[in-house]
Symmetry: D2
Subunit: 357 residues, 4 copies
C-alpha cells in the first residue's frame, strides 16, 4: 500500500527533501485492533515538529497523521463493538487504559500517553492507505458526517470540548474569550461555547475576524493590536451593562502564550478560569501572581481529551450544532504543499485535509 514516509529529520523546513510516497506492507489487526482504509486524514502542527525532529525525535521511518477517518476492513478477535464496514475516526490519544488516571476517567493524565501519528512508530500514523488502531481508539462516525469532516474534527474538536466542557465547565450565560478563533482549535472553541449558551468573544488577525463571526462568535477582536485586551474588556463591559452581569471574562480558552498571556490574566473575573493548551507564540511567560491569587482565579492546563469527549462532540456535529471547518484538501502527491500552507498559516481558516488520492 501507499504511505507518506520520511526516514530522516529536516531542520530547514525543506520537507520536499524528506517526505516521500513509499510502498509498504498492509497492516494486520492485533486481537484488540481494527484496520481501516483511510478515506481522509487531517494535518496537525505536530506533523511539522515530527519532520523537524524537535522538540522530540519521533521514531523513524515515520508516518505522520493523528486524525484519520475511514472504513473498517478487518478486526481482531477481541474487538467487541466495531465490525467490518463501520465508518470510524481515530481517537489519537493512545493510553494504557489500566492506570489510576485512565480508570478515573482522566486518560489525558495517563503517564504512558502517546499521540498517535506523532510519538508512535516506526511507520504508524494516518497518512497511508490502511492503518490500524486499538478498538478503543476508534469512534463510529454518525451517518450525517463525512469522512473529511470527521478527520477535520477529531483531535481539535475533542481538545476544545475537553478544555471548555471538561476543564472549564462552561455554563449558559458566561462570557467566554476564545483566543485564536480562526485556528483549527479555535473554530471548535467558538462553536462549543455557543452551544452551551455563552457570550463568545474571540480574537484573530484582522482579515479573519469576519469569518469568526460567521461561525458564531458574538464579537471578534484583532489580537495583533497592542490594546486588543482593552477592546475585549470594553466589550465585556457593554455586555455587562446590557445584560445585567459583571464585566470581565469568566473563561479564557488560551493556546497562544507569549506576550498575550499577561494581558489575558487582567481580563478574568473573580473566580474566573483560564485553560491553557499550547503556546504558539512562546512558552516562557511573565505572570503577576496577584492576578491569580487576589481574584481566586483558576489556571488549568489541558492536553487532548477523552474518548467520551470526542463522542459528545461528534454527537453535536450529527445534530448540526457544530461544524468542522475545512480549509482545503490535498493528496499524498502534494503533501509538501499542504504542510507548507499550514506552516505559513496565511489565509488558512480551519483544517487541511489529506487523502491518499
Amino acid at each position: 500500500m501507499k504511505a507518506l514516509v520520511y526516514e530522516e529529520y529536516t531542520t530547514d523546513d525543506d520537507f520536499s527533501r524528506i517526505l516521500k510516497i513509499r510502498e509498504i506492507a498492509e497492516p494486520k489487526p492485533k486481537s484488540n485492533e481494527v484496520v481501516l482504509q483511510v478515506k481522509a486524514a487531517a494535518l496537525n502542527y505536530d506533523d511539522i515538529w515530527g519532520m523537524r525532529g524537535k522538540p522530540l525525535q519521533v521514531p523513524l521511518p515515520h508516518i505522520s497523521g493523528t486524525d484519520a477517518a475511514g472504513e473498517v476492513v478487518a478486526i481482531g478477535d477481541d474487538v467487541k463493538n466495531i465490525k467490518i464496514g463501520d465508518r470510524v475516526v481515530s481517537h489519537g490519544n493512545l493510553t494504557c487504559r489500566t492506570c489510576k488516571a485512565c480508570n478515573e476517567g482522566r486518560e489525558y493524565d495517563c503517564p504512558q500517553r502517546l499521540v498517535w501519528g506523532f510519538q508512535t512508530g516506526p511507520l504508524w500514523g494516518g497518512y497511508c492507505e490502511f492503518t490500524h488502531l486499538p478498538e478503543v481508539n476508534t469512534v463510529k462516525i454518525p451517518p450525517s458526517i463525512s469522512y473529511e469532516e470527521a478527520a477535520a474534527a477529531s483531535m481539535t474538536m475533542m481538545t476544545s470540548w475537553h478544555i471548555l466542557v471538561g476543564r472549564a465547565k462552561i455554563r449558559p450565560g458566561q462570557t467566554v474569550l476564545v483566543m485564536g478563533g480562526s485556528s483549527g482549535m479555535g473554530v471548535f472553541g467558538i462553536q462549543i461555547a455557543k452551544l452551551f449558551g455563552c457570550d463568545v468573544i474571540t480574537t484573530a488577525s484582522s482579515q479573519k475576524l469576519e469569518r469568526c463571526v460567521e461561525i458564531g462568535a458574538d464579537f471578534a477582536v484583532d489580537h495583533r493590536k497592542e490594546d486588543w485586551h482593552k477592546e475585549v474588556y470594553k466589550i465585556s463591559k457593554n455586555l455587562a451593562k446590557e445584560k445585567g452581569k459583571p464585566p470581565g471574562i469568566d473563561v479564557i480558552y488560551e493556546h497562544i502564550g507569549g506576550t498575550h498571556w499577561k494581558k489575558e490574566l487582567t481580563l478574568l473575573k473573580y473566580g474566573g478560569t483560564l485553560v491553557t493548551t499550547g503556546a504558539t507564540t512562546g512558552y516562557d511567560v511573565m505572570t503577576d501572581l496577584r492576578h491569580i491569587f487576589f481574584k481566586g482565579a483558576n489556571i488549568l492546563g489541558a492536553t487532548q481529551g477523552t474518548r467520551a469527549e470526542l463522542e459528545q462532540g461528534l454527537y453535536w456535529m450529527s445534530q448540526n450544532k457544530i461544524k468542522a471547518i475545512i480549509d482545503s484538501e490535498y493528496t499524498f502527491e502534494n503533501a509538501v504543499e499542504a504542510h507548507m500552507k499550514m506552516l505559513k498559516g496565511k489565509g488558512m481558516f480551519g483544517k487541511i485535509i489529506m487523502k491518499p488520492d
Copy 2:
C-alpha cells in the same frame, strides 16, 4: 487442574448434591490476559445465588469465585504492566472499557458490566487452581499483604470505598452510620470511615457489637431492637453536644433494606446522604418522600466500584490503616460447609476464604 464446578442449579440449598471437584483444562491467556495460580479466593453471597439459579441463571457448567488472589504464571502478548511472578488479585468487575461510562471513569455504570465468577462462564471463575483475567482486571498486591487478605478484601473493600469515598464523598468530622457493620462489607465501611476522620456508628446483632468496636467503630447498636434508630439518634445527639455539631447522620452506608429503610431515612441531617448497595432483608421498601425532599437528602445507588478505588483501598491496607477481616479458611474439599456457613451467617465475622488445598 482441579476446579470447583456445578452443572445444574439447586433450589433447596442442598449444595452437596451439585458442587463437585472436577479436573478441567488449564487456561491459556488471550493477548490481553494474565493467568494466575490461585492461592486464595473469598466467598461472596452471589455464589449462593449462582447455585440457586436465581435471581438469574448463571452459565453452566459453572465455576464461582469473584475474589481470587494468586501468582502470575503466564501473560498474553499485549500485557503491559504485569509480568510472570507478580502477585495479583482479581478486580471482579468486567467491563467494556470502551463505552462512555467506562471512559468517564464510571466503569460501574457500564451497560456491559459482568461480575466475574458470577455472571461469567461456562467454567470461568476463581475456585480453581489456575484462572485467567484481562490484565486490567488484576491489581498487584503490595508486599505486606497476604494472598488471603487480598482475596478477602477485593470486592467488598472496593465496594465500600466506592460507596463512602466515590459516592458519599465522606469528609473528616462527619457522622457516618454503617448498617450491618459485622458483614464482609461493613467491616471495611467502618475502617474506611475512620480512616477519613469520621465519627462512626454501626449496627449489628448483639453478640457482634463488641467486635465492631474492636475494629474501629465508635459506637455499635443492636439493629434487631425495635428502637435501634432512636438509640442511633441519641448517640448522634450526644456527639452533637460534646463536639459542637448538629445532631443526626451525615452519611448512611446501607445494604440491608427491608424494614430498616424507613427508620434510616429519619436519621439523616439536612443535605445528608444515604448510599444503598443491596437489600439483604428485602427489596421493596416504603418511603415517606418528605424525608427526602424536605431535607434535601441524597439517596444514591451503588454497585461495585472502579479499579482505581480497589488500588486505593489496597494502598491503605499496605499502610496498615485498613485490615481484611478473615472469618475462617476452607479448601475445595469442604466447600459445601463453607457456603453453608455463609448462608446461615451465625457467628460469622468478616470473609470466608477458599483455597485449592
Copy 3:
C-alpha cells in the same frame, strides 16, 4: 393599608368564611430591610395549607403570599444595594445567612429556613399593599420583565432552576423528563431544560399536552394513562435510535409522587438522576431498591433554592429564553375565587396572579 387576612383556619375549604380584606398598619423597615409597594403577587399551594391549618398551623392572624413584586418605597439604614424606586421581587426563602449551610451556598439546607408568607407572621406575607423583607430576600427585576411576570416566576422558577441546574446538573444532549409539565413548576422545568440543550419529554393531562409543546417540550405524554411510562420509554428509544444515544431518561423532575413514583424509577438510565420536590398525589411510595442500587441511580431531594439561582433565572427571562406563564389575574376582592381555581386546578396553566386592586 389593605391586606388579605384570616384569623382562624377552615378545614372544609370554605375560604369565603375566613378570608377578609382588613385595614392594618403600614410596615416600617428594620435596618436591613426594604419596604415595597406590592404591584403583583402570585398564588402558591401553601396558601391553601395555611388556611386549612394543616400540615402545620401558621401564625394567626395570617397574611399569605410568598411571591410578591413591587416598587421599593423605604429602606433601612444598613441596606447596601437597593434604593427607593427600585423594582424588586421577593426571594421567599428566609434563612439565617449565618450557619454552615448558608455560608456554604446551601441556604436551602438552613435549619432555620422559613417560607415567607407561609411560615411567617402574624401578618407577614405578600397579599397586602405594602410589605417588608430583608434586603437579601429581594432581587432587582430586570427592566424588560413586568411585576406580574416576576411574581409569577419567583418561587417556582427558582425551585425549577435549583432542581435541574443546582441539583441534577443537566447538560446539553441529556434526555429530561418533566413530570406535571403544565403546573407552575413544570412550565419552568420544561423551559430550563430546553435552555440547557436537553431533549425534553413532559407529562400532563390530555387537554394540556399541546400547550406543553408550545412552551418548548419536545414530547408530551398523558400521565393519566396506565401505561404512560411505556410511552415515555418508547419516545426515549426513538430518540436513542435517531440521535445515537442510549435509551432511557437521564434526569427526572419529579413533584407528583404517589403511584407514578415506581414507574418513574424504571425509566432511569444507569447513573441517572431523579430529583423530588413534592408529592401532590401522595407522600408514601413503594420503591424497589434494585432500581436504585443496580443502576447506580441518584435520588435527590430539593426544596426551594438560592438567591443566586433566582437571579440566574431572572437573567434568562430578561434574555427572553424563559417566560413566566400567567394563567389569570385576580384582586383582593375575588381572592376566594382565585384560591378555589388553584385548588381545583381545572383548566389552569401557569400561575395565578393576585393584585391589591
Copy 4:
C-alpha cells in the same frame, strides 16, 4: 477606651513615630452587630502594609487588627445566635452576603470584600479594648480553646483550610508540599494536610526545620538551598518506592512566589494542583507554560476563606487535632516591638499575640 491608633503613614518602617495608644469612644452595636471586649488579637503582615500606606492607603486615623478574640458585651436587636457573655473570634472577611458569589458559598469572591482591620476604618480594627462586628463575622470559640489560640488561628487557619480543603480538595494518601512551613500560614498548612491523611513535605530556613517536623511534617527541606526542589523530588521518589505510588507532588501550598515558583512547577504530578495565596519574595514570576498544559496541572488562586471553613478549623482545634502556634505575646505598650519582630521574622515561629494590657 484604649486603642492602638496611627494618623499618618510611615514609609521608613519607623513605627514608633506613628503608633500611639489613644483614648477613644466605646462602640455601640448596629442592629446586626455584636460588641466584644478584646482579650487577645493577633498580628498579620497587613498591619505593616497599613502603616506604610502601601500597596494601598488604609483609612486614617487607623486601628489595625484583623484577628480579635473576646467576650461579647453587647448585641444589636437583630442578632440571632450570639448572646452577651459568649466567647467569640473575628471572621475578618467582611463581605456583602447578598451578591451571587456570597450566595453561592464563595464569599472570598465577593467584589465588595474588605479585610477587617486593614481596609476598614477610620478607627475600625481589633487593637482596642472593645470592638464591633456583624454577627456573621464572629464565630463562637469552643470551650477548650483559649482567646489567644483563637486569635492566633482565625485568619491563617481559615486561609490554610480554604487552600487545602476548599480549593485543592486534598485526599488521604496524597503527597502535599507546604512552602514556608514555619510561617503563620504554614504551621496550619502542615497540620491540616496531616489531619487529612497526607504525606507532608515542608520547606523552611535551616534553623526552623526541626520545629516543622515537631508539629507534624514528615519531611522538612531548607528552601534557601539552590537545589531545594531536587531534594523535595528525591523525597517524593523515596515515598513513591516505599508506598507504591508515583513520584512527584499532588498538591503544593504556595505563598512565597519569586524564584521558587518555577522550581515548584517542575515538581507537580500529572493532574497535580498548586494553590497560590501570596508572594512574599516577589509577585512577578516566569512560568514555562509546558509545565502547566502538558501535565494538565491546576494553578489556583486563593484569598482568605469562608466562615464555614473557619468553623471547621475551630472544630478540629477543639478536638486537639490542630494547634495554634503562638510565637510570643505583647501588649499595646510594646506594640512597636511586636511589629518589628514580625517585620524581621528572625527566629519567629507561629503567630504574635497582642493584648490590651
